[in-house]
């Protein structure tokens, strides 16, 4: 491994936050192209058989432990640092991630249930943060954090699949309507038409 790759590896090992390419270039005093090549070399070095892996997350590069070692890594801590998220928390995160910045009233309206406790919990876990109020006041708005991007392996704030990918097809929407009608929530198709 060349000297630059070693330096980049050392910086990534020490850094508690993602280091963007230009920051790595500043720190090492090398051109971004060389740093990029060094990152490639590091990626090869940290192959699947090692305990660490190189990942591009949250706007930069990080060294992290491999997923299969999570349990043993957590023995270093008094308690596991990242607990699983409930379905309600995941849905709230999804709403915020696609519509950020967004206030709790809007989240509640979209989800159909109060989101106050869930938003507070997600903020406490560092996955959401305050993003200020809209001009003219109103409720505090929230956005996702870098910890959110790291946790879900996103390269940056917008690195999500397009929401359109998740939209219902016409057939799926019709299926929902059919089930609503079966349950008596909607008139059966054709019913009520004069």
């Amino acid at each position: 491994m060349n000297g630059l790759a070693r330096a980049v590896e050392a910086l990534l090992f020490l850094s508690p936050e993602p280091l963007p390419l230009d920051r790595l270039a500043d720190l090492t005093g090398e051109a971004p192209g060389f740093v990029e090549r060094a990152l490639g070399e590091l990626e090869e070095r940290h192959h699947a058989g090692t305990g660490l892996e190189l990942a591009e997350v949250a706007g930069g590069w990080r060294l992290r432990t491999r997923a299969d070692l999570g349990e043993i890594c957590d023995r270093l801590r008094a308690r596991p640092p990242e607990e699983r998220l409930s379905p309600a928390a995941l849905e709230t995160l999804a709403v915020v991630a696609y519509l950020e910045p967004i206030g709790r009233p809007e989240i509640s309206r979209l989800r159909g249930v109060s989101a106050d406790a869930t938003v507070a919990l997600l903020a406490e876990r560092g996955l959401l943060e305050e993003a200020g109020r809209a001009e003219g006041g109103g409720a505090m708005r929230y956005r996702t954090t870098r910890a959110f991007q790291e946790r879900f392996g996103l390269r940056g704030p917008g690195d999500l699949p397009p929401l359109e990918r998740f939209e219902l097809t016409g057939e799926e929407a019709a299926e929902i309507r059919r089930r609503l009608a079966e349950d008596g929530h909607l008139p059966a198709p054709g019913e009520g038409e004069a």
Binding site: F13, L14, S15, P16, E53, L63, R64, T65, A67, L69, G70, C73, D74, P81, E82, E83, R84, L85, P87, L90, L93, A94, V95, A97, Y98, R104, P105, S108, R109, L110, R111, G112, V113, S114, A115, D116, A117, A120, E150, R151, F152, G153, L160, P161, L163, E164, F166, E167, L168, A173, I176, R177, R179, L180, D183, G184, H185, L186, P187, G192
Partner: protein, 220 residues
């Protein structure tokens, strides 16, 4: 509700309300209003099911139909977010258990790397030194007991028949002056003394108004 295939008859409205109100902050009027309308529609549907009425015989309720349509539209509009949540669940690094360094670099570097016993001893000495005892003087400023002043004034009157107000408060501050005046007024109120101030803002003469004897009320 629909995703979990819960029958309408088994659905407890109270549970829906509890789930909706699980936050601590007050609702904004539009959200609360919308929830109430949806709950009303739900109760209406449930009551019809529970009573067992033939829905075909019921007059169509345009408002209820509108609410039902909104319910359907809401489910359809929300579906992408529910699916996005499923995508997040599948990409949750915590489930996969990757771990990152979390300790801020400054904190980690703050630990001494090389042993400098003298420096360490000096640092520990600063930490172990007792801090100065905070002054509580402001909590112990002069307290004046009016009852005690009444006794002292009464005794002075018994001894001399009359005393000067300024003589009584000489060397004291405004607090002493105020409380002595209160004591004098109290004696005058009880008929034990007469106050006389010949010159405005001048000295007040406090004279005993009657021969010494038991104070009315048994003393202050």
């Amino acid at each position: 509700m629909l995703r979990e295939e819960v029958s309408l008859a088994e659905l407890a409205v109270a549970d829906v309300v509890t789930a909706a109100l699980d936050g601590e902050e007050p609702w904004d009027p539009p959200t609360a209003g919308e929830l109430i309308v949806l709950l009303a529609a739900l109760v209406d549907l449930k009551s019809r099911r529970l009573v067992g009425e033939d829905e075909d015989d019921l007059e169509p309720d345009a408002e209820a139909e509108e609410v039902r349509e909104r319910l359907a539209q809401r489910l359809i509009a929300y579906a992408p977010f529910a699916r996005a949540a499923a995508w997040l669940r599948d990409h949750d690094g915590a489930a996969g258990a990757v771990r990152y360094r979390r300790v801020p670099l400054d904190d980690a570097a703050a630990a001494p790397v090389r042993g400098e016993p003298a420096l360490l001893a000096a640092a520990m000495d600063r930490l172990l030194r007792e801090p100065p005892v905070p002054s509580l003087a402001h909590l112990n400023t002069g307290r004046v007991n009016v009852t005690e002043l009444i006794h002292r004034l009464r005794a002075a009157l018994r001894a001399g028949g009359a005393v000067s107000f300024e003589g009584q408060v000489a060397g004291g501050g405004p607090l002493r002056e105020g409380t002595t005046l209160l004591a004098a007024l109290e004696l005058a109120h009880r008929g034990e003394a007469v106050l006389d101030q010949p010159v405005p803002f001048g000295d007040i003469e406090i004279r005993r108004s009657r021969p010494a004897g038991p104070a009315p009320g048994g003393g202050a």
